[in-house]
């Protein structure tokens, strides 16, 4: 299919998400759409998929102008979408998920499941997908779920596949398998739009690269004509430093000692299975792993947000076991926490920035006197923090929810750093941030390390882990597969993320 977008403009209120965007996808082409978060990639694709109506501009399929009112229209025109958060129903079988919306019915109103299973088996064989039509989605690995999502699009006779950040949730090995699949689809003449902000992938698979910035097309190029630095410059609009500047670590004494920690998740299954590690002052321990392997529960246990089944967390200089202690005690002991989901756990979005900046110190005598809150001190504190951390806001009295993602994250880190910290735990510190904010967060994290704070970062971005970590712990299925130096190859870490034990390269426990 040949797809042409001409002059698409879409604005939400005063925010222009897409301005006069034009691009052409040829049949059998892998077209990468590159841009920072908020550059308008998703808006553009939602316009294409009929979830949003453009203010102006037109869509041409094989030279003919078409209007796409809703997803049904898009599907009928042969456009298939693989969303970043899979549009699969976890408790349904593969078959039920694939046929939903376009069920073979015979006789009316009964679904012809036998025919559906045959259809899926055939499709799955033709594209070499190896998917069991009877399996329940929630029991399948993420990579397979993604294949089901692609299968769903193909079963609707899609000629153009749109993949939105498809590698974000995959291990490097699964990502490679996906790229193989996309190449074979391309050979069968399908067109593919691949949305991402990962430069490495783009250069690997793209035929054509289109870069979006602030809702506008900055330029189009091919992998042969460009490199990572140029792409990053196009994406951000200035030259960026892709490597994190940091001196070699000078680790001091052990500050945090975690021993045999056992944590359950909400349904009562063990999510963290007897995890032990040490963190030294002045080093960054990076915890890598595919999401959902117990990292979230580990961090919640360390910060007191989740109960601990057994095990101990010893902070040097603090008397007693921090495992299962009250959040207040943990904060007072000197542990700072930048949570994974800043909007739900890091901030109260409906409160003003100034209150969010003292959220953990509401009863501190500095901000709370005998007769109530000391509003002037709170305002004063906010002014200082806003300048120190370069928080871009119209004023301290504005709602935190009105800030951009990067500035929200700055509020969180400013608050955490306003206490005397011994340990700083950052969970997914740069998720959803633009390149500028990522640089800023990285600098803050390294600065804290250099100030002799023990830093733990949890990230599912392998690049970030490799760039920041002084030691890298890889989690899989609730256990630490091994702790390795950052010089370890991506492939080896990838294997560990997929569960292969890697005792050989594991560093000796200090």
């Amino acid at each position: 299919m040949r797809l042409e977008l001409r002059g698409i403009t879409k604005s939400f209120g005063s925010l222009v998400a897409n301005h006069n965007v034009s691009l052409t996808v040829e049949p059998g082409e892998i077209h990468c759409l590159l841009g920072e978060n908020g550059a308008g990639k998703s808006t553009l694709m939602n316009v294409l998929y009929g979830m949003l109506t453009p203010d102006s501009g037109e869509i041409l399929i094989d030279g003919e102008p078409v209007t796409i009112r809703d997803p049904k229209d898009a599907v009928a025109r042969g456009i298939g979408m693989v969303h970043q958060h899979f549009m699969l129903i976890p408790v349904f079988s593969v078959t039920e998920n694939v046929i939903l919306g376009d069920e073979p019915v015979r006789p009316w109103p009964f679904v012809d499941y036998r025919k559906a299973v045959t259809m899926i088996t055939e499709l799955s064989q033709r594209y070499n997908f190896d998917v069991d039509p009877h399996a329940t989605i929630e029991n399948l690995p993420i990579g397979t779920q993604q294949r089901v999502e692609i299968l769903k699009a193909l079963s609707h006779h899609a000629d153009l596949l749109v993949l939105d950040e498809p590698t974000a949730v995959l291990t490097p090995q699964e990502a490679d398998a996906l790229i193989m699949i996309l190449r074979s689809l391309k050979e069968m003449g399908k067109s593919i739009i691949f949305i991402t902000h990962k430069l490495r992938e783009v250069l690997e698979i793209a035929d054509v690269i289109t870069v979006l910035r602030l809702g506008e097309v900055v330029g189009s190029t091919t992998p042969a004509e460009t490199n990572e630095e140029d792409l990053a410059t196009m994406m951000v609009g200035r030259s960026v430093n892709l490597v994190v500047d940091k001196k070699p670590a000078a680790p001091g004494d052990v500050v945090l000692e975690v021993r045999d920690l056992l944590v359950e998740e909400d349904r009562g299954l063990t999510a963290v299975k007897s995890v032990s590690f040490d963190v030294h002052a002045g080093e960054i321990l990076a915890i890598a792993g595919v999401q959902g392997n117990g990292q979230t529960e580990l961090v919640e246990a360390l910060t007191g947000l989740r109960g601990v089944t057994s095990g101990s967390v010893i902070l040097k200089g603090y008397d007693g076991n921090l495992a299962g202690a009250a959040v207040r005690d943990i904060l007072h002991a000197g542990i700072g926490h930048v949570p994974e989901d800043r909007q739900r756990h890091g901030l109260v979005l409906s409160l003003p920035v100034e209150d969010n900046l003292v959220l953990d110190q509401l009863s501190d005598p500095r901000y709370h006197g005998r007769f109530g809150r000391k509003l002037r001190a709170i305002r004063e504190n906010a002014r200082t923090q806003i300048t120190d951390f370069d928080i871009r806001t119209q004023g301290p009295e504005l709602e935190a929810g009105s800030l951009s993602g990067g500035n929200q994250q700055k509020v969180v880190i400013a608050r955490e750093l306003s206490r005397e910290l011994r340990v700083l735990i950052c969970s997914q510190p740069t998720r959803g941030l633009d390149v500028g904010s990522i640089e800023y967060m990285h600098r803050q994290i390294v600065a804290n390390r250099d100030a002799n704070v023990a830093v733990i970062i949890v990230s599912s971005e392998l690049d970030e882990v490799l760039a920041l970590g002084d030691r890298i712990a890889v989690m899989y299925d609730g256990k630490i597969q091994g702790i390795v130096p950052p010089t370890t190859s991506r492939e080896d870490i990838g294997l560990m993320m997929a569960g292969a034990g890697n005792a050989a390269t594991s560093e000796e426990q200090a």
Binding site: M87, L100, P109, F110, K152, R267, Q291
Partner: protein
């Protein structure tokens, strides 16, 4: 914001539910031990009478020798078929319900000639059985101990909650007997057949109610207004039937009218919840309050002065030819009010609707993850409107089962909170129609039991309210999660919007 991608394996989940099964088994076994201890010290003067076939209408026809052989052969044949169907069912894609029905009928048919041969049948009326109470108590105790021990050992997930529930009822009964020891009580008179028959008829409105809840919540809308739909259904049906003096087909229309009024309340809920995205629980409670007020108003201002508008004759009792003559099972299952059969057929129909049809697949999908349905062109609100209105219709018919079913007149408060019990039953039945059927029967049994025991209890110092509260106590236990691994539809109660 956060992508919650979880790696859940079947093994993990099974481990959790097996742990729970063990806990249930141990509890059941402890009940058994307590029962044995209590019964060891029971006053020996008490007797339990268990009557089979207490309905004198169930007198059995004499069968000639040849017929007995034929019936027994038929029973054996059915038993064989059910065995084959159980083992080979998967290959022939037989529905499990069909297999189950065949098996029940086979057992019943086999019992018939056997009971005749055993000379249980004296003068056409089944003999009643009198046993000392402590023997019954001890037997129940030993059975609980064995069942509990076995469950704790094997750790079955399925049936664990049902076992615990049965053990709980037995436990409460033996507790009552134990309390009665030494007092001047004539004995516990259990008319088994009539007790079971009463259970089934008491379960009828619960079946309709819990089916309504199941359909609505499968689509992602909490229908807490079932109680209100019961009320309007009950009142409109009885008024319509009385207006036509209960003549002929008018009763059928009366039942349907009850359904229509229930559907009306359902559509009110749907509009508030789907169009205006109001909180579903609050809207539901408000609808119950509205229905309660309007039925109270009408019954005090209209029905009070026009008694002729509030009397209907019961719907016919239909005895299935042949099957209704089976001992115990016959009067319980096959000699009932027409609405009972309608309720059971409704369960089967809803199950087929939800799991076999396109509509059902789509309804279940919008209850789990509406955004996924929307991206493949399934309209979330259309599916939810349909489900909620259909649910209201079924609940309205359930309301009619209060009045025109047994032929009672409408009185304010007669729904007795059963609409809320129906919601507990829906949870107990794990949001599945057959689960709702089984749980309705269990709750029906509890209700029948409390009705039956009131006579016995009135001789005791214990207030009878204690046993009347039993269904509600068990409701609380069910809602508190005493029912094994339960997983509500993921989008249950969450309004959907595209953004």
């Amino acid at each position: 914001m956060s992508t919650s991608v979880e790696i859940v394996t079947l093994e993990n989940l099974r481990a959790v539910s097996r742990g729970r099964a063990r806990a249930y088994g141990i509890t059941t076994a402890i009940f058994g031990i307590l029962e044995i201890v209590w019964m060891g010290q029971t006053h020996p003067g008490l007797n339990t009478t268990i009557e089979f076939g207490a309905n004198s209408s169930t007198s059995m026809p004499e069968l000639s020798g040849a017929w007995r052989v034929i019936v027994l052969a038929a029973a054996l044949l059915l038993a064989g078929i059910s065995a084959i169907a159980t083992t080979q069912g998967r290959r022939f894609a037989l529905p499990r319900s069909g297999t189950l029905a065949v098996r029940i009928i086979a057992i019943a048919l086999a019992l018939w000639p056997i009971s005749l041969w055993l000379h249980v049948n004296v003068d056409g009326i089944l003999r009643s059985w009198t046993v000392p109470v402590h023997v019954v108590g001890l037997v129940i105790g030993v059975l609980s101990l064995l069942a509990g021990g076995y469950l704790a050992w094997k750790r079955y997930d399925r049936g664990a909650s049902a076992t615990l529930y049965a053990a709980l009822i037995a436990f409460l009964l033996t507790f009552l007997v134990w309390v009665a020891r030494g007092s001047d009580v004539s004995g516990l008179h259990l008319q088994l057949t009539s007790l079971l028959a009463l259970s089934v008829s008491a379960a009828t409105c619960l079946m309709f109610g819990s089916l309504s809840g199941t359909i609505c919540e499968r689509s992602g809308v909490v229908n807490i207004a079932i109680e209100g739909q019961f009320m309007v259904g009950a009142m409109s049906a009885v008024m319509f039937a009385s207006a036509f003096n209960g003549a002929g087909i008018s009763k059928t229309f009366a039942v349907l009218l009850g359904g229509v009024f229930g559907a009306l309340m359902g559509s009110l809920l749907a509009v508030m919840a789907l169009r205006y995205k109001a909180d579903q629980v609050i809207v539901g409670v408000v609808i119950v309050a509205f229905c309660s007020a309007i039925t109270q108003f009408l019954s005090s201002q209209v029905l009070n002065f026009h008694q002729n508008l509030n009397q209907s004759e019961p719907l016919p009792v239909w005895a299935v030819p042949g099957l209704s003559k089976i001992p115990v099972l016959g009067p319980v299952l096959f000699d009932q009010n027409v609405l009972v059969f309608v309720a059971v057929l409704m369960v089967v129909a809803v199950n087929i609707l939800l799991y076999r049809t396109r509509w059902g697949l789509r309804v279940r999908s919008v209850g789990e993850k509406p955004i996924a349905s929307e991206t493949v062109g399934v309209s979330v609100s259309r599916m939810r409107y349909g489900a909620v209105i259909l649910g209201g219709f079924i609940a309205g018919i359930g309301g009619a089962a209060f009045t025109v079913g047994p032929g009672s007149s409408f009185s304010y408060g007669m729904t007795n909170g059963y609409g809320y019990i129906a919601l507990a039953i829906m949870i107990f039945g794990r949001w599945r129609p057959y689960g709702a059927l089984a749980a309705s029967l269990l709750f029906g049994f509890t209700i029948a039991m409390s009705a039956n025991l009131n006579i016995y209890l009135s001789q005791l110092v214990i207030p009878q309210q204690f046993i009347s509260a039993l269904p509600y106590i068990i409701t609380i236990a069910a809602v508190a999660g005493l029912v094994g691994r339960i997983r509500p539809p993921a989008a249950d109660g969450i309004p959907f919007s595209r953004e």
